[in-house]
Homo-oligomer: 198 residues x 2
Amino acid sequence: MTNTDDLTAQLAFVLEADKLKSVERQTTIADGSRRENSAEHSWSLALMAIVLADCAPPDVDIGRVIQMVLLHDVVEVDAGDAFVYDVAAREGQAEREALAADRLYGILPEDQGARLRALWDEFEARATPDAKFAAALDRLSPLMLNRASGGLAWTRHGIVASQVRERNAHIAEGSPALWEAANAIIDCAIDEGLLPDR
Amino acid sequence: MTNTDDLTAQLAFVLEADKLKSVERQTTIADGSRRENSAEHSWSLALMAIVLADCAPPDVDIGRVIQMVLLHDVVEVDAGDAFVYDVAAREGQAEREALAADRLYGILPEDQGARLRALWDEFEARATPDAKFAAALDRLSPLMLNRASGGLAWTRHGIVASQVRERNAHIAEGSPALWEAANAIIDCAIDEGLLPDR
């Protein structure tokens, strides 16, 4: 059972995290009608973790992966989203996100804040099987949405197939089966004229 | 490891579920700038399940609660959202949602679809400790957002304090601590002039 001060802090964190619903990503939702926000993106990844659990290597703890993807973008409340193909925007992003993590997880009761911050640090370091599978989902989702929307975000930014394969190659470290699925999506997108084949 | 047909079905389910990002709720996001959609709402509940886990009775399995809230609104892809205070809109909603569950969980491989459908049925029946805690989060979140936004959804629909207490009373079954927090929020909303005290 939590005490009143802890509960007040926890509810304050939940309201602060609500701002993630206003952080826009470059990717659109599947029907292409608008850009996706980081809160609903996080929901998609958690749903994928449930549904695609069979694609995870046997040493992956899906419960931890789900918590990881639910939390993975909370730092964007302060740091914003940096498009994965935008090298300039990504400069300094790690430092901005670390400061954001200090402030945001600092709202929580100390033990809990440290525990959830450690889960985010693990996601960022992408060194454990859980973090690698979480990262694979985080890359597969925009691939699926970009193809479903007719390649809107790719076209807007002039992205070509080789960039997509290079930026998403680490899906293979998290799940060979999902990397195969990702390549099939890229091949279809090329055939459909959504991605220049170079 | 999943087979190719299963994976194709699972990815199709993920894209179909993406439509939840276009299902609007009556509640606004915390800053009041726009209405919340059911996908980002589901993310909020899952985040709350992580952060407020200490408020759950000891027999609650938080991992199951997280999966339950991530899935709880997927049926709205077909059935839409029915405002909790709108008695007319809620008529026939259970039947519409059951048909939607047949179709949507039917996209998945049979075993998996049956397992996830059972989790949704459990949520709807609100008879187990896990489902009661999930339902408590599902009621607490809009309370928090309505107060944070200055009572926008309450004012638009002419909702008064006694309706809010009655409709949310089942929070107590899921978590006495969260029911106490909910009452504190309602009291504050009355003091702030956001909810008529009758």
